[in-house]
Amino acid sequence: MTELLLWPFAAGLVLTGIHVYFGLHVLARKVVFVDLSLAQVAALGLAVAILAGHPVQSDAAYWYAFGFAIVGALLVALARPYEGALQQEAVIGIVYAVSAALGVLVLDRAPQGADHIKQLLAGTILTVTPQEVAGLAALYAGIGALHLLLRRPIMQASFRPQDMPHAHLLLWDALFYASFALVVTSSVRVAGVLLVFCYLIVPAALAGLLATGFVVRLVVGWVLGAALTAGGLVASWVWDLPTGPAVVAAFGAAMALAALAFALRRLTLRKSGLLASSAAAIAGALLLAFPQMDQPWLDAIEAAVPPLHTAFLSASERTTRDETLGSIARAREELTRLRALEADVRWNKVEMDGEKAERLRQYLAGKGEISAGDALVLRHLHDKARARQRYMLGLPLLAIGIWGLWALLRRRAA
């Protein structure tokens, strides 16, 4: 695990380092989508590079992408003084949509690039190399040092632009967006658009909720970014998921948890009672009206507490269920064993004569999906139980829900 995930983790730390910093600026400037917009302009640059005959991974293609992103960044910087007449967010959106469409037009002339650009935007953080991580770290250290040196005007341009003369503001905005364009172009190459967007916005947004002051928020954001990267990578390993999307999902989960925590803090006993009663009434009504509809909440509870399911089966049905479950478990075990054997034969770890190996392959291909019959039996029992739960669970739930709502609302009226 460490061998494969060490460098993705290192890449995640480097990305966290620079993007949380830029994220705090971007949130203060209220230009959340500038990152997606510049990434799309950079992708347009890549498409043009491919049309000009450069391989997608070449240095030339990188400079094309950067050149285009700089132009996009300058457009965004130039739009700011006209904020009163035209929102900067509108310019960002237009730049995004137009460069995406231009990209399609360019790729129509260079179709070999389409898949590579799609892969690039999706990101391949799992296969990042040590050289790439080192290159990014060096570049971002340089940009960080420059911003540290010029921190006073750059901070002022982001957080107190009203105190700055217009000409100065344009200059510092141009510098800010140009360095941001360089960061986005370089990061997207390694991690893809979605992941880069999450590194930029999520830790900075969470830090904004949890702390005050730029430096404190920066540190909180760094800690969160590192922790969420680790969490996403571990999840990708444990649950066998594509790595980039798994890390993005970890960021999303963190955001959802934070939202839930904030919601819970404002929740009174009465409000929770109302919520619980409404949920019970709706769940009961649905179970009563559409017993065969998917009821994921009931499935989840049954999986955790099987008696809730078996209590609605007759004794003979329970026996059938146990036998079927046993047979599925045995079939699954056997299939796993045969699959491993077949893989060993394919990889030449185990000798087997050709005809027998082919028979095994065909058996597994046909069997592929274990015991469809057993699954059908379980489904049948499930439907039977649901038909009984319809009244024995649905009615009481509905009644409790309505009673709860009635009692709570009446108390208020009184």
Binding site: M1, E3, L4, L5, V56, Q57, D108, A110, P111, Q112, A114, D115, H116, Q119, A122, T124, L126, T127, V128, T129, L233, S236, W237, D240, L241, P242, T243, G244, R339, A343, R346, W347, N348, K349, Q362, A365, G366, G368, E369, I370, A372, A375
Partner: protein, 285 residues
Amino acid sequence: MLAALVAATSPSAQAQQRLLVITTSPDLKSLVEAVGGDRVEVESLGQPEQNPHSVEIKPGQLVRVKQAAMLVRIGLDHEPWLARLPALTATVVDASRDVPLLQTETPRLRTARKAHTHAYGNTHYWLDPKNAWPITASILAALADLSPADRAAFEARREAFLSRLEERLAAWEGVLAPYRGARVVVVHDSWSYFAERFGLRIVAAAEPNPGVPPSPGELAALLDRLRGSDVRVLISDPHSDPSLVRQIADKGGVRPVTLLPSGRDYIGLFEENVQRLSQALKSGQ
């Protein structure tokens, strides 16, 4: 005077008589030309560099499709974009009709992930040169229906093409004969027919589902398998993810070789692929 007029107009009249045939892939275009010769004018909707599953039709092409007398397609579920075309007046030839297909087992429920599951079998059947026989037979039948007077000419052209292909196929099999039974890994499962013809054994596909990058667990398992094995070559497609190819090549100790799944010249496509593959297998030994 009249004779001169006829002589002057006849080339354009003849050009008008040429059958317009639209194909979905350049390989099929090459095969239609091999049978039809100067009696047909062929255009391909897809380009060799393009992903055949996602072709975007342009207005000019749409006009040509409407004018066409015949449309030749790979069939199966290879061209989902074709369904969005308006109703066709042309004769539609499904080139897969008489081809013996591989991997036709259709899983009913997906409890386990499988390499490149096509609902009707693996669609990359033109990558076995032997399948040019049934494909050109379907093309010949349709062309002869549209232009019965040219049947003999079409048959003669097809025979000539197939005997040239037969000769080249023997040469290719000769070049790859020393590596018969060699085990290889592919990035994307589009090489089953090719491997079957030339006696290669594909032991695994790096992308368990096409287009979805492998999870760390799957990649680790593949690298682990590779290190203890006699596999020396990794076959990638031009649109495979280069960073994935590089990682497997570096860590698994295999030599990457990019083979072309599609080309403008059917015989030239195999010349190129056989040369690339034999070089990779040779230096991998």
